[in-house]
Subunit: 499 residues, 2 copies
């Protein structure tokens, strides 16, 4: 064929110098330095705000977070409506959302965990649309796979440099790691870093400047008192300690405590006690583990520093000791939530876990676990990493006192399925141990230890209600207020408005 | 609907903890530090190599480059075949490709410019498939828009840190800028940085570690003698100097030399002389320009340092002075080829250019310019930034002696269209000036200056052949060996095998 210059060409003939111009946004190339803005007004003027947008936040500043409230106040001032708040977790400090839900400024919440007044308000039907409570690994999956599309990520970052590189370390609001903020920073249409520590250069940033559009420096992004809070103490309750001891005894009997083992525990009092007794066991038997993972506490830092684990894989720091360890210990590694627990990320850390120790509000005859709703039907949490680690780890253990404030942890049917029973391997209580019946051999092995009281779930349930009586169930309405979403995006259960 | 736990859910019912696993590569998230490998064998073992792959290279090390040859030697050792070499430019130092084309190890070359033995071999039909010679702006467009898909980018980088951040500055192979390597680093399936200067930390990297998979440290990536070579001296030929003077006289007459003007010139001897006379003009008239762009030479650095231009927009350093200036001058800015000249990038620098001064091997009665093939039909270059700047700049000027070695630059019909005539505004020779007839007003204005000999292209052509006689055209075969590709991906012309 001939092109419009009369030249013989075989394909794509030239048609004119400016005929085929097609301006594009190549969003892969954001080497340009982000803009440093001076006020919330400048930030809002620079963003593509609209009714119905989805804005995202992370929860590394925990109950000390001041970013979500500050942003939502500004968006409210400008009269935006129907906003979806996609926050990795909601804490009591985010109470402003209650009023915003009532006025339909916010009409949906998408999180991995919610507690406090916002959870209560959602339970009471104050949010127009049902909320989604997913898992810590489900959230980055949804974001990276563009199921959850974030318009603007507002990320509180303890230290940011002028090129937009950010880290959770250093500064007055040091929270150590930003694992739950990475996917947001990578995928949101616009990314704003809010910091109270703007510096010339950040080494080893978790948030890369190339992902960032705007930076705002503020007085404070968080209250240091609230940032590093939560249950991070080993229980002093002798019954709890006994459960933890039994746990080690069982794992020993099942020959699961081995050289090179990997381990995760939640920050609950009994779970931390398991770590304490594990250390004693490892010391006595001369065993060293490979890694400990998850939210990191002082106790795990000490175990790593004393050589009981080679490395820590840290998605979130729970203590000041953990934030300090990150700065000095090379083998205390930061990871993103995707690297931690995304089911579709082949190399995720939870898949490499040997043992995870978890808690429960309820566990039922099918081994389903509820950590989402309380006995009154109100939302009191959500999966966090519960569903991810239970599914990933080779052996998942629920530790709990059988009866807490006259309520049995074992029930016939959990109110809300947070973690499906097929991923739970064992329940350890002060009044009996249940191993998932799919593990025939392990059950036989455990029964060989006369110190372990091995039952079926039905037997333990009967034992519990012999003490507590059969509990009356608090009924809910039939209006859905939230969905318990599994890590793969499917829906495990519906949470209904309380009466 | 009920999910497989028997729970009522409205959508996406849970089906099982591991039913929906779908392992994915989230290539947006490459925060992991790249692997530092120890040998070429380790590099090749780590890559996804296969017959028919496309491997890419940049040309910032120019005729001193040792990376392309080293890589191709290794790929040949492992007996891969049908490789496409996508290099931003090919120089004489890449002679190894001649043998590899003959043995069908390499069967296609995709570049913006080729010279030396490889160009001769391609002209003689040694490459199995026709090559593509595109423009400096066309290449990043093709890569970013996934028309040119690179399997592995092998990028020689003068300084690299252990996290994979790379810069053209510093080290023994300092080449200043890496503008032509950025798109490759962003888009290639796998990215290998080859360096002879591995450091702890690179400030202000052009290549971000998050794009990089592997790093190899070698003895030397380039020969410093060859890196900063090429025609970078102002011509001493009095006829060339006269052409340059006439150029300034014409631009002055057309009132194009104004406060705030932006300017680009090639590194040819006459073009550089234009910069020299421009400086004298600016000094005399107290004019200051906004930016100078493109490949940067000492002359432009001096003009910027003396205040004649506010900034330099640098896609490639041609001189040692330019590499030093980058390190010390904040207003000497690095840019990627996408930022420089991609037609679909709205903010590209060439679109902001007021004046560009270019050379030509041939220019014809339609103003089409050839810088691709010589009078014998052999490939001797290619567009580089010629087509991009001619199209982008408000006024594009070709400067040339009318007759060079008894051959006229003006011909009836160029052998190969490199730059379409509609984007050329003016030709300035020692024996007459032609302004594109679309510029009626400018032609009248120019004719008002009695020192300027304003002709039509036909008149200048007649004037030339009155001296040279009508040249005999060297005929070629009818076998295509390369295509001259425009910046928008369309084909301008076919280059045929020489006889």
């Amino acid at each position: 064929m001939k092109n419009n210059l009369g030249r013989e060409v075989p394909f794509r003939p030239y048609t004119g110098a400016f005929d085929n111009v097609n301006y594009k946004e190549y969003n892969i190339e954001k080497q340009k330095e982000p803009k440093i803005l001076k006020s919330w007004d400048e930030v809002l003027d620079s963003l593509d705000l609209k009714d119905g947008m989805t804005v995202s936040f992370h929860h590394h500043l925990r109950n000390g977070d001041k970013v979500l409230s500050a942003v939502m106040k500004e968006l409210d001032k400008r009269k935006y409506k129907n906003i979806t708040v996609a926050a990795s977790s909601i804490f009591p400090c985010h109470e402003i959302l209650v009023d915003l839900m009532e006025r339909e400024v916010v009409t949906k919440i998408h999180c991995d965990y919610m507690s406090g007044p916002v959870a209560t308000a959602v339970s009471k039907g104050k949010c127009k649309e049902p909320c989604i409570i997913t898992t810590h690994g489900g959230r980055p999956r949804e974001i990276l796979e563009e199921e959850l599309n974030i318009d603007i990520a507002f990320l509180g970052v303890p230290t940011v440099d002028t090129q937009g590189n950010g880290t959770g370390s250093q500064g007055r609001s040091n929270c150590g790691v930003l694992g739950y903020a990475i996917a947001d920073a990578q995928m949101a249409k616009e990314v704003v870093l809010i910091t109270d520590h703007l510096v010339d250069q950040v080494d080893h940033p978790e948030i890369l400047g190339s992902w960032v559009d705007f930076i705002l420096e503020v007085e404070e992004i968080g209250d240091p008192q609230g940032i590093l809070s939560g249950t991070t103490q080993i229980t002093k309750d002798p019954v709890g300690l006994m459960v933890a001891k039994k746990c080690i005894d069982l794992l020993d009997t099942l020959e699961l405590l081995k050289e090179g083992m990997s381990f995760q525990t939640g920050a609950g009092g009994i779970s931390l006690a398991v770590a304490k007794y594990l250390k004693e066991y490892m010391k006595k038997h001369g065993i060293k583990g490979s890694f400990a993972s998850g939210g990191i506490t002082d106790y795990l830092v000490n175990m790593m520093e004393e050589g009981y684990f080679e490395t820590l894989e840290d998605v979130q720091c729970f203590t000041i000791g953990a934030t300090k360890s990150i700065e000095k210990n090379k083998n205390h590694k930061k990871m993103s939530a995707n690297e931690y627990a995304n089911i579709n990320n082949k190399e995720n850390i939870v898949n490499k876990l040997d043992i995870v120790i978890l808690g429960a509000s309820e566990i039922d005859l099918d081994f389903h676990v509820n950590v989402s709703t309380g006995s009154n039907g109100e939302i009191l949490g959500g999966s966090g990493g519960h569903g991810d680690t239970a599914a990933g780890a080779k052996f998942s253990v629920i530790v709990s006192k059988l009866i807490n404030s006259r309520i049995s942890v074992v029930v016939d049917r959990v109110r809300t399925v947070t973690t499906p029973g097929e991923t739970i391997d064992c329940l350890i209580t002060d009044r009996g141990i249940v191993i998932n019946p799919k593990h025939h051999e392990l059950i036989e092995k455990a029964k060989g230890n006369p110190n372990l009281d091995i039952l079926t779930m039905e037997e333990l349930y009967e034992r519990a209600i012999a003490y507590t009586g059969k509990p009356k169930k608090v009924e809910a309405t039939d209006r859905p207020v939230a969905y318990s979403q599994y890590r793969d995006g499917t829906i495990l259960d519906t949470i209904y408005q309380v009466k």
